[in-house]
Protein backbone atom coordinates (compact mmCIF):
# COMPACT_ATOMS: atom_id res chain seq x y z
CA UNK A 1 0.00 0.00 0.00
CA UNK A 2 2.67 2.38 1.05
CA UNK A 3 4.80 1.64 -1.98
CA UNK A 4 1.83 2.03 -4.28
CA UNK A 5 1.23 5.48 -2.86
CA UNK A 6 4.90 6.37 -3.18
CA UNK A 7 4.90 5.21 -6.79
CA UNK A 8 1.80 7.21 -7.56
CA UNK A 9 3.29 10.39 -6.12
CA UNK A 10 6.53 9.78 -7.94
CA UNK A 11 4.69 9.40 -11.24
CA UNK A 12 2.63 12.50 -10.55
CA UNK A 13 5.74 14.58 -9.97
CA UNK A 14 7.36 13.11 -13.05
CA UNK A 15 4.29 14.02 -15.07
CA UNK A 16 4.34 17.62 -13.82
CA UNK A 17 8.01 17.91 -14.63
CA UNK A 18 7.59 16.52 -18.12
CA UNK A 19 4.51 18.62 -18.78
CA UNK A 20 6.45 21.87 -18.51
CA UNK A 21 9.01 20.67 -21.04
CA UNK A 22 6.26 19.28 -23.23
CA UNK A 23 4.49 22.64 -23.37
CA UNK A 24 7.67 24.48 -24.27
CA UNK A 25 8.30 22.05 -27.10
CA UNK A 26 4.71 22.35 -28.29
CA UNK A 27 4.82 26.13 -28.26
CA UNK A 28 8.09 26.14 -30.14
CA UNK A 29 6.81 23.66 -32.75
CA UNK A 30 3.63 25.65 -33.26
CA UNK A 31 5.62 28.86 -33.61
CA UNK A 32 7.93 27.18 -36.09
CA UNK A 33 5.14 25.66 -38.14
CA UNK A 34 3.21 28.91 -38.48
CA UNK A 35 6.26 31.13 -38.82
CA UNK A 36 8.13 29.12 -41.44
CA UNK A 37 5.23 29.54 -43.90
CA UNK A 38 6.10 33.19 -44.40
CA UNK A 39 9.30 32.17 -46.15
CA UNK A 40 7.25 30.80 -49.04
CA UNK A 41 6.67 34.39 -50.09
CA UNK A 42 9.68 36.24 -48.64
CA UNK A 43 13.27 34.97 -48.45
CA UNK A 44 14.73 34.86 -44.90
CA UNK A 45 17.28 37.48 -45.96
CA UNK A 46 14.62 39.91 -47.18
CA UNK A 47 12.56 39.23 -44.09
CA UNK A 48 15.36 39.95 -41.61
CA UNK A 49 17.10 42.74 -43.54
CA UNK A 50 14.19 44.32 -45.41
CA UNK A 51 13.82 47.95 -44.44
CA UNK A 52 10.08 48.25 -45.06
CA UNK A 53 7.29 46.86 -42.97
CA UNK A 54 4.02 47.38 -44.87
CA UNK A 55 2.18 44.17 -44.13
CA UNK A 56 -1.18 45.14 -45.57
CA UNK A 57 -0.16 46.98 -48.72
CA UNK A 58 -0.41 45.23 -52.11
CA UNK A 59 2.03 43.50 -52.51
CA UNK A 60 2.88 43.24 -48.79
CA UNK A 61 6.39 44.32 -47.80
CA UNK A 62 7.60 42.22 -44.89
CA UNK A 63 10.99 43.53 -43.80
CA UNK A 64 11.47 43.48 -40.01
CA UNK A 65 14.83 45.26 -39.79
CA UNK A 66 13.22 48.46 -38.45
CA UNK A 67 11.46 46.38 -35.80
CA UNK A 68 14.64 44.55 -34.81
CA UNK A 69 16.52 47.85 -34.62
CA UNK A 70 13.66 49.36 -32.63
CA UNK A 71 13.86 46.54 -30.10
CA UNK A 72 17.66 46.73 -29.92
CA UNK A 73 17.68 50.49 -29.54
CA UNK A 74 15.18 50.46 -26.71
CA UNK A 75 16.88 47.49 -25.01
CA UNK A 76 20.37 48.97 -25.30
CA UNK A 77 19.13 52.31 -24.06
CA UNK A 78 17.45 50.64 -21.10
CA UNK A 79 20.61 48.62 -20.42
CA UNK A 80 22.83 51.70 -20.44
CA UNK A 81 20.56 53.35 -17.88
CA UNK A 82 19.53 50.42 -15.69
CA UNK A 83 22.77 48.41 -15.38
CA UNK A 84 24.98 51.08 -13.77
CA UNK A 85 22.11 52.38 -11.67
CA UNK A 86 20.95 48.92 -10.65
CA UNK A 87 24.40 47.65 -9.72
CA UNK A 88 25.24 50.88 -7.90
CA UNK A 89 21.97 50.63 -6.00
CA UNK A 90 22.74 47.03 -5.02
CA UNK A 91 26.20 48.06 -3.81
CA UNK A 92 24.71 50.90 -1.79
CA UNK A 93 22.15 48.59 -0.18
CA UNK A 94 24.60 45.84 0.72
CA UNK A 95 27.68 47.87 1.59
CA UNK A 96 26.89 51.40 2.58
CA UNK A 97 23.31 52.02 3.60
CA UNK A 98 22.42 52.30 7.29
CA UNK A 99 19.92 49.63 8.38
CA UNK A 100 16.90 51.91 8.25
CA UNK A 101 17.53 53.26 4.75
CA UNK A 102 18.34 49.74 3.59
CA UNK A 103 14.85 48.55 4.59
CA UNK A 104 13.14 51.51 2.96
CA UNK A 105 15.11 51.05 -0.26
CA UNK A 106 14.49 47.32 -0.43
CA UNK A 107 10.74 47.61 0.01
CA UNK A 108 10.68 50.52 -2.41
CA UNK A 109 12.34 48.41 -5.05
CA UNK A 110 9.99 45.51 -4.42
CA UNK A 111 7.12 47.93 -4.85
CA UNK A 112 8.56 49.05 -8.18
CA UNK A 113 8.58 45.42 -9.30
CA UNK A 114 4.95 45.08 -8.35
CA UNK A 115 3.68 47.89 -10.59
CA UNK A 116 1.97 46.37 -13.66
CA UNK A 117 3.74 47.38 -16.84
CA UNK A 118 0.62 48.91 -18.34
CA UNK A 119 0.41 51.28 -15.38
CA UNK A 120 4.05 52.22 -15.80
CA UNK A 121 3.37 52.82 -19.47
CA UNK A 122 0.38 54.97 -18.62
CA UNK A 123 2.33 57.06 -16.10
CA UNK A 124 5.14 57.36 -18.62
CA UNK A 125 2.74 58.58 -21.26
CA UNK A 126 1.37 61.31 -19.03
CA UNK A 127 4.61 62.48 -17.42
CA UNK A 128 7.76 61.34 -19.22
CA UNK A 129 6.54 61.85 -22.78
CA UNK A 130 5.86 65.61 -22.43
CA UNK A 131 9.15 66.06 -20.54
CA UNK A 132 11.19 64.41 -23.27
CA UNK A 133 9.35 66.48 -25.86
CA UNK A 134 10.08 69.77 -24.08
CA UNK A 135 13.62 69.03 -22.92
CA UNK A 136 14.93 67.99 -26.33
CA UNK A 137 12.56 70.19 -28.39
CA UNK A 138 11.22 67.25 -30.35
CA UNK A 139 8.08 67.12 -32.48
CA UNK A 140 6.89 64.21 -30.33
CA UNK A 141 7.87 62.76 -26.97
CA UNK A 142 7.02 59.23 -28.07
CA UNK A 143 10.59 58.11 -28.80
CA UNK A 144 12.98 55.22 -28.31
CA UNK A 145 14.59 57.18 -25.47
CA UNK A 146 11.27 57.45 -23.62
CA UNK A 147 10.78 53.70 -23.96
CA UNK A 148 14.35 53.04 -22.82
CA UNK A 149 13.91 55.14 -19.67
CA UNK A 150 10.60 53.48 -18.81
CA UNK A 151 12.00 49.99 -19.42
CA UNK A 152 15.04 50.82 -17.32
CA UNK A 153 12.61 51.29 -14.43
CA UNK A 154 11.21 47.85 -15.12
CA UNK A 155 14.60 46.16 -15.32
CA UNK A 156 15.88 47.86 -12.15
CA UNK A 157 14.06 45.71 -9.57
CA UNK A 158 15.31 42.50 -11.19
CA UNK A 159 18.87 43.76 -11.48
CA UNK A 160 18.97 45.24 -7.99
CA UNK A 161 17.50 42.28 -6.14
CA UNK A 162 19.59 39.62 -7.88
CA UNK A 163 22.80 41.66 -7.79
CA UNK A 164 22.13 42.34 -4.12
CA UNK A 165 21.87 38.60 -3.43
CA UNK A 166 25.14 38.07 -5.29
CA UNK A 167 26.87 40.75 -3.24
CA UNK A 168 25.47 39.40 0.04
CA UNK A 169 26.73 35.93 -0.76
CA UNK A 170 30.34 37.12 -1.00
CA UNK A 171 31.87 35.54 2.12
CA UNK A 172 32.32 37.97 5.00
CA UNK A 173 35.87 36.66 5.27
CA UNK A 174 36.87 38.18 1.89
CA UNK A 175 35.71 41.54 3.12
CA UNK A 176 37.57 41.24 6.43
CA UNK A 177 40.67 39.90 4.72
CA UNK A 178 40.87 42.92 2.45
CA UNK A 179 40.06 45.36 5.27
CA UNK A 180 42.76 43.78 7.42
CA UNK A 181 45.30 44.60 4.71
CA UNK A 182 44.43 48.25 5.08
CA UNK A 183 42.25 48.62 2.00
CA UNK A 184 39.73 51.46 1.98
CA UNK A 185 36.04 50.67 1.70
CA UNK A 186 35.96 51.56 -1.99
CA UNK A 187 39.05 49.43 -2.70
CA UNK A 188 37.43 46.49 -0.95
CA UNK A 189 34.27 46.95 -3.02
CA UNK A 190 35.80 47.23 -6.44
CA UNK A 191 38.84 44.99 -6.10
CA UNK A 192 37.38 42.17 -3.99
CA UNK A 193 33.62 42.20 -3.66
CA UNK A 194 32.68 43.08 -7.23
CA UNK A 195 35.01 40.48 -8.82
CA UNK A 196 33.82 37.83 -6.38
CA UNK A 197 30.19 38.60 -7.18
CA UNK A 198 30.78 39.08 -10.92
CA UNK A 199 28.95 35.99 -12.12
CA UNK A 200 25.90 36.77 -10.01
CA UNK A 201 25.85 40.36 -11.20
CA UNK A 202 26.06 39.18 -14.80
CA UNK A 203 23.11 36.91 -14.17
CA UNK A 204 21.20 39.88 -12.76
CA UNK A 205 21.99 41.95 -15.83
CA UNK A 206 20.96 39.20 -18.23
CA UNK A 207 17.67 38.55 -16.46
CA UNK A 208 17.00 42.28 -16.40
CA UNK A 209 17.66 42.50 -20.14
CA UNK A 210 15.48 39.45 -20.72
CA UNK A 211 12.64 41.27 -19.04
CA UNK A 212 13.26 44.38 -21.14
CA UNK A 213 13.34 42.67 -24.51
CA UNK A 214 10.15 40.76 -23.80
CA UNK A 215 8.25 43.77 -22.49
CA UNK A 216 5.31 44.77 -24.64
CA UNK A 217 2.64 46.91 -23.09
CA UNK A 218 4.68 49.86 -21.91
CA UNK A 219 6.76 50.13 -25.05
CA UNK A 220 3.66 49.98 -27.19
CA UNK A 221 2.25 52.95 -25.30
CA UNK A 222 5.28 55.22 -25.24
CA UNK A 223 7.65 54.51 -28.12
CA UNK A 224 5.41 55.95 -30.83
CA UNK A 225 4.86 52.71 -32.71
CA UNK A 226 6.27 53.84 -36.04
CA UNK A 227 7.69 50.96 -38.02
CA UNK A 228 10.35 53.04 -39.77
CA UNK A 229 14.11 52.74 -39.82
CA UNK A 230 15.33 54.56 -36.67
CA UNK A 231 18.29 56.93 -37.09
CA UNK A 232 18.56 58.14 -33.50
CA UNK A 233 17.06 57.48 -30.11
CA UNK A 234 15.01 60.65 -30.44
CA UNK A 235 12.75 59.08 -33.04
CA UNK A 236 9.63 56.99 -32.62
CA UNK A 237 10.31 53.27 -33.04
CA UNK A 238 8.34 50.09 -32.91
CA UNK A 239 9.62 46.95 -31.22
CA UNK A 240 9.15 43.31 -32.22
CA UNK A 241 6.85 42.63 -29.29
CA UNK A 242 4.69 45.67 -29.85
CA UNK A 243 4.22 44.71 -33.50
CA UNK A 244 2.86 41.31 -32.62
CA UNK A 245 0.57 42.68 -29.93
CA UNK A 246 -0.75 45.50 -32.08
CA UNK A 247 -1.31 43.62 -35.32
CA UNK A 248 -2.24 40.10 -34.34
CA UNK A 249 -5.86 41.06 -33.77
CA UNK A 250 -6.39 42.40 -37.23
CA UNK A 251 -4.26 39.98 -39.27
CA UNK A 252 -6.33 37.59 -41.38
CA UNK A 253 -5.69 34.03 -40.21
CA UNK A 254 -3.61 32.21 -42.80
CA UNK A 255 -2.46 35.39 -44.57
CA UNK A 256 1.18 36.37 -45.18
CA UNK A 257 0.83 39.00 -42.51
CA UNK A 258 -0.33 36.39 -40.00
CA UNK A 259 2.60 34.10 -40.75
CA UNK A 260 5.03 37.02 -40.64
CA UNK A 261 3.91 37.82 -37.11
CA UNK A 262 4.66 34.26 -36.06
CA UNK A 263 8.06 34.54 -37.70
CA UNK A 264 8.69 37.64 -35.57
CA UNK A 265 7.82 35.44 -32.60
CA UNK A 266 10.56 33.04 -33.68
CA UNK A 267 13.06 35.90 -33.91
CA UNK A 268 12.14 37.03 -30.40
CA UNK A 269 12.43 33.49 -29.14
CA UNK A 270 15.91 33.19 -30.67
CA UNK A 271 17.02 36.50 -29.15
CA UNK A 272 15.90 35.65 -25.61
CA UNK A 273 17.33 32.16 -25.98
CA UNK A 274 20.67 33.67 -27.03
CA UNK A 275 20.65 35.99 -24.01
CA UNK A 276 19.97 33.08 -21.66
CA UNK A 277 22.64 30.89 -23.22
CA UNK A 278 25.24 33.67 -23.03
CA UNK A 279 24.40 34.21 -19.37
CA UNK A 280 24.69 30.48 -18.74
CA UNK A 281 28.02 30.24 -20.53
CA UNK A 282 29.45 33.08 -18.45
CA UNK A 283 28.12 31.59 -15.24
CA UNK A 284 29.61 28.18 -15.90
CA UNK A 285 32.93 29.61 -16.98
CA UNK A 286 33.13 31.54 -13.73
CA UNK A 287 32.21 28.68 -11.45
CA UNK A 288 34.76 26.30 -12.95
Amino acid sequence: MRTAKEKFIEKLILFCGLASIFFVVLIFLFLLKEGISVFKTVSPGDFLCGKKWYPISEPAQLGILPLILGSLLVTLGAAVISIPMGVACAIYITELAPAKIKEILKSGIELLAAIPSVVLGFVGMITLVPWIKNIFHLPTGLTALTGAIMLAFMAMPTIVSIAEDALYSVPKSYREGAFALGATHWQVIHRVILPAAASGILEAVMLGLGRVIGETMAVMMITGNAAIMPHSIFQPVRTLTATIAAEMGEAVVGSEHYFALFAIGIVLFVISFAINVTADLFLHRKTK
Binding site: S173, R175, E176, G177, A178, L181, A183, Q187, R191, P195
Partner: protein
Protein backbone atom coordinates in the same frame (compact mmCIF):
# COMPACT_ATOMS: atom_id res chain seq x y z
CA UNK B 1 60.38 48.21 24.51
CA UNK B 2 56.61 48.40 24.81
CA UNK B 3 54.72 48.28 21.52
CA UNK B 4 51.08 48.24 22.59
CA UNK B 5 49.45 49.55 25.76
CA UNK B 6 45.83 48.65 26.50
CA UNK B 7 44.08 50.60 29.26
CA UNK B 8 40.71 49.82 30.87
CA UNK B 9 39.33 48.32 27.67
CA UNK B 10 35.60 47.54 27.68
CA UNK B 11 33.79 46.29 24.59
CA UNK B 12 30.13 45.63 23.85
CA UNK B 13 28.39 44.15 20.86
CA UNK B 14 24.84 45.35 21.31
CA UNK B 15 23.95 44.19 24.83
CA UNK B 16 26.75 41.62 25.05
CA UNK B 17 29.64 42.74 27.22
CA UNK B 18 32.50 41.05 25.37
CA UNK B 19 35.54 42.48 27.17
CA UNK B 20 35.70 43.80 30.74
CA UNK B 21 38.35 46.21 31.97
CA UNK B 22 41.35 44.73 30.20
CA UNK B 23 44.77 46.24 30.96
CA UNK B 24 47.81 44.93 29.15
CA UNK B 25 51.25 45.85 27.88
CA UNK B 26 52.68 44.05 24.87
CA UNK B 27 56.43 44.15 24.32
CA UNK B 28 57.81 44.57 20.81
CA UNK B 29 59.59 41.76 18.92
CA UNK B 30 58.01 39.07 21.06
CA UNK B 31 55.28 36.52 20.59
CA UNK B 32 52.32 36.92 22.92
CA UNK B 33 50.00 33.92 23.01
CA UNK B 34 46.41 34.47 24.06
CA UNK B 35 44.55 31.42 25.34
CA UNK B 36 41.10 30.89 26.79
CA UNK B 37 37.92 28.93 26.15
CA UNK B 38 35.47 29.76 23.38
CA UNK B 39 33.78 33.18 23.61
CA UNK B 40 36.20 34.40 26.25
CA UNK B 41 36.96 37.56 24.25
CA UNK B 42 40.31 36.53 22.76
CA UNK B 43 39.36 37.20 19.16
CA UNK B 44 37.46 40.36 20.08
CA UNK B 45 40.59 41.61 21.83
CA UNK B 46 42.69 40.82 18.76
CA UNK B 47 40.28 42.52 16.40
CA UNK B 48 40.31 45.63 18.56
CA UNK B 49 44.00 46.10 17.86
CA UNK B 50 43.43 46.69 14.13
CA UNK B 51 39.97 48.21 14.58
CA UNK B 52 38.33 45.41 12.59
CA UNK B 53 35.53 45.23 15.17
CA UNK B 54 34.27 48.53 13.83
CA UNK B 55 32.85 46.75 10.77
CA UNK B 56 30.14 45.49 13.14
CA UNK B 57 27.56 48.24 13.61
CA UNK B 58 26.64 47.16 17.15
CA UNK B 59 30.23 47.56 18.37
CA UNK B 60 30.91 49.95 21.29
CA UNK B 61 34.22 50.55 23.05
CA UNK B 62 35.53 52.29 26.16
CA UNK B 63 39.11 52.68 27.30
CA UNK B 64 42.15 53.15 25.10
CA UNK B 65 44.67 51.25 22.99
CA UNK B 66 48.00 52.87 22.21
CA UNK B 67 50.35 51.72 19.48
CA UNK B 68 53.88 53.03 20.10
CA UNK B 69 52.44 55.85 22.18
CA UNK B 70 49.68 56.83 19.72
CA UNK B 71 45.97 56.27 20.42
CA UNK B 72 44.78 53.95 17.64
CA UNK B 73 41.51 55.86 17.37
CA UNK B 74 43.53 58.84 16.19
CA UNK B 75 45.22 56.78 13.47
CA UNK B 76 43.34 56.42 10.19
CA UNK B 77 41.89 52.88 10.05
CA UNK B 78 43.54 52.01 6.71
CA UNK B 79 46.90 53.21 7.95
CA UNK B 80 46.55 51.34 11.25
CA UNK B 81 45.68 48.10 9.47
CA UNK B 82 48.78 48.47 7.33
CA UNK B 83 50.86 48.70 10.50
CA UNK B 84 48.92 45.98 12.30
CA UNK B 85 48.48 43.05 9.93
CA UNK B 86 46.19 40.10 10.53
CA UNK B 87 46.12 36.41 9.64
CA UNK B 88 42.74 34.73 10.01
CA UNK B 89 41.62 31.34 11.32
CA UNK B 90 40.67 29.98 7.95
CA UNK B 91 43.12 30.67 5.19
CA UNK B 92 41.24 33.06 2.98
CA UNK B 93 43.04 33.84 -0.20
CA UNK B 94 41.34 36.47 -2.33
CA UNK B 95 39.94 35.09 -5.59
CA UNK B 96 43.12 36.12 -7.43
CA UNK B 97 46.43 34.56 -8.51
CA UNK B 98 49.16 33.75 -5.97
CA UNK B 99 51.17 36.77 -7.10
CA UNK B 100 48.20 39.14 -6.99
CA UNK B 101 47.21 37.94 -3.53
CA UNK B 102 50.55 39.04 -2.14
CA UNK B 103 50.78 42.14 -4.34
CA UNK B 104 47.25 43.21 -3.38
CA UNK B 105 48.28 45.08 -0.22
CA UNK B 106 51.19 46.97 -1.77
CA UNK B 107 49.01 47.88 -4.77
CA UNK B 108 46.30 49.18 -2.48
CA UNK B 109 48.90 51.34 -0.76
CA UNK B 110 50.09 52.77 -4.05
CA UNK B 111 53.07 50.64 -5.19
CA UNK B 112 52.58 50.86 -8.99
CA UNK B 113 56.06 49.85 -10.20
CA UNK B 114 55.96 46.23 -11.45
CA UNK B 115 59.64 45.62 -10.62
CA UNK B 116 59.09 46.81 -7.06
CA UNK B 117 56.00 44.62 -6.74
CA UNK B 118 58.00 41.58 -7.87
CA UNK B 119 60.63 42.28 -5.21
CA UNK B 120 58.07 42.71 -2.46
CA UNK B 121 56.21 39.53 -3.43
CA UNK B 122 59.40 37.46 -3.54
CA UNK B 123 60.62 38.77 -0.20
CA UNK B 124 57.27 38.21 1.50
CA UNK B 125 56.91 34.68 0.14
CA UNK B 126 60.43 33.82 1.30
CA UNK B 127 59.72 35.14 4.80
CA UNK B 128 56.59 33.02 4.94
CA UNK B 129 58.54 29.92 3.86
CA UNK B 130 56.41 29.54 0.74
CA UNK B 131 58.66 30.80 -2.07
CA UNK B 132 60.25 27.48 -3.00
CA UNK B 133 56.89 25.78 -3.27
CA UNK B 134 55.21 28.35 -5.50
CA UNK B 135 57.94 30.25 -7.38
CA UNK B 136 57.18 28.44 -10.66
CA UNK B 137 53.44 29.03 -10.59
CA UNK B 138 52.87 32.53 -9.27
CA UNK B 139 50.22 33.13 -11.93
CA UNK B 140 47.93 30.27 -10.91
CA UNK B 141 44.88 30.74 -8.72
CA UNK B 142 45.56 30.85 -4.99
CA UNK B 143 42.74 28.33 -4.48
CA UNK B 144 44.91 25.63 -6.07
CA UNK B 145 47.23 25.64 -3.01
CA UNK B 146 46.81 23.27 -0.07
CA UNK B 147 45.37 24.56 3.21
CA UNK B 148 48.77 25.00 4.84
CA UNK B 149 50.18 26.72 1.77
CA UNK B 150 47.16 29.01 1.64
CA UNK B 151 47.71 29.98 5.27
CA UNK B 152 51.37 30.79 4.61
CA UNK B 153 50.22 32.75 1.55
CA UNK B 154 48.01 34.78 3.87
CA UNK B 155 51.00 35.39 6.12
CA UNK B 156 53.03 36.49 3.08
CA UNK B 157 50.18 38.78 2.06
CA UNK B 158 50.24 40.37 5.49
CA UNK B 159 54.03 40.73 5.42
CA UNK B 160 53.92 42.40 2.00
CA UNK B 161 52.48 45.60 3.48
CA UNK B 162 55.39 45.73 5.94
CA UNK B 163 53.51 45.80 9.23
CA UNK B 164 54.99 46.31 12.70
CA UNK B 165 52.57 44.00 14.47
CA UNK B 166 51.00 40.79 13.12
CA UNK B 167 47.84 39.38 14.66
CA UNK B 168 47.19 35.66 14.26
CA UNK B 169 43.62 34.53 14.89
CA UNK B 170 43.85 30.78 15.48
CA UNK B 171 45.99 30.43 12.36
CA UNK B 172 46.39 26.68 12.62
CA UNK B 173 42.90 25.60 13.61
CA UNK B 174 42.20 24.21 10.16
CA UNK B 175 45.63 22.74 9.46
CA UNK B 176 47.26 19.33 9.78
CA UNK B 177 50.23 18.89 12.20
CA UNK B 178 52.92 19.25 9.51
CA UNK B 179 51.44 22.44 8.10
CA UNK B 180 51.01 23.68 11.67
CA UNK B 181 54.70 23.05 12.35
CA UNK B 182 55.64 25.04 9.24
CA UNK B 183 53.44 27.97 10.23
CA UNK B 184 54.91 27.93 13.75
CA UNK B 185 58.41 27.84 12.31
CA UNK B 186 57.56 30.88 10.19
CA UNK B 187 56.24 32.68 13.28
CA UNK B 188 59.40 32.03 15.29
CA UNK B 189 61.51 33.45 12.47
CA UNK B 190 59.28 36.50 12.11
CA UNK B 191 59.75 37.34 15.79
CA UNK B 192 63.12 38.88 14.94
CA UNK B 193 61.47 41.74 13.06
CA UNK B 194 57.84 41.88 14.13
CA UNK B 195 55.65 41.87 17.20
CA UNK B 196 53.38 38.84 17.03
CA UNK B 197 50.12 38.24 18.86
CA UNK B 198 48.71 34.75 18.58
CA UNK B 199 45.21 33.77 19.60
CA UNK B 200 45.03 30.01 19.86
CA UNK B 201 42.74 27.27 21.11
CA UNK B 202 45.72 24.98 21.35
CA UNK B 203 47.37 25.38 24.76
CA UNK B 204 50.40 23.38 23.62
CA UNK B 205 50.91 25.71 20.70
CA UNK B 206 50.88 28.66 23.10
CA UNK B 207 53.55 26.90 25.15
CA UNK B 208 55.66 26.13 22.07
CA UNK B 209 55.82 29.57 20.46
CA UNK B 210 54.80 32.19 23.02
CA UNK B 211 57.31 34.31 24.90
CA UNK B 212 54.43 35.51 27.03
CA UNK B 213 50.98 34.05 27.50
CA UNK B 214 47.74 35.75 28.45
CA UNK B 215 44.69 33.89 29.74
CA UNK B 216 41.20 35.26 29.03
CA UNK B 217 38.00 34.01 30.65
CA UNK B 218 34.49 35.44 30.09
CA UNK B 219 35.83 38.71 28.73
CA UNK B 220 38.33 39.27 31.54
CA UNK B 221 42.09 39.07 31.44
CA UNK B 222 42.82 36.61 34.26
CA UNK B 223 46.57 36.47 34.03
CA UNK B 224 49.50 37.44 31.82
CA UNK B 225 53.05 36.27 32.40
CA UNK B 226 56.13 34.73 30.83
CA UNK B 227 55.08 31.49 29.18
CA UNK B 228 57.45 29.26 31.19
CA UNK B 229 56.19 30.72 34.47
CA UNK B 230 52.57 30.58 33.41
CA UNK B 231 52.77 26.93 32.49
CA UNK B 232 54.63 25.89 35.66
CA UNK B 233 53.43 28.16 38.45
CA UNK B 234 50.31 30.10 37.47
CA UNK B 235 48.96 32.55 40.04
CA UNK B 236 45.32 31.95 39.44
CA UNK B 237 43.64 28.60 40.01
CA UNK B 238 41.43 29.09 36.93
CA UNK B 239 44.51 29.43 34.73
CA UNK B 240 45.92 26.24 36.20
CA UNK B 241 42.64 24.39 35.60
CA UNK B 242 42.42 25.56 32.01
CA UNK B 243 46.01 24.68 31.17
CA UNK B 244 45.56 21.23 32.68
CA UNK B 245 42.42 20.81 30.59
CA UNK B 246 39.97 20.64 33.47
CA UNK B 247 37.54 22.80 31.52
CA UNK B 248 37.61 24.18 28.03
Amino acid sequence: MVEIVVKELDIWFGAVHALRGVNMEIASKEILSIIGPASSGKTTFLRTLNRLNELDVTFKMKGSVELTGLDIKKIEAEHLRKKVGMVFALPLPLPLSIFDNVAYGPKVHGVKNKQKQQEIVEKALKQAYLWDEVKDRLGTSAFKLSGGQQQRLCIARTLAVEPEVILFDEPCSGLDPISTAKVEEAMLMLKANYTLILVTNNVKQAARVGDKTAFFLSGELIEIDRTDKMFTTPHDKRTDDYIRGKFG
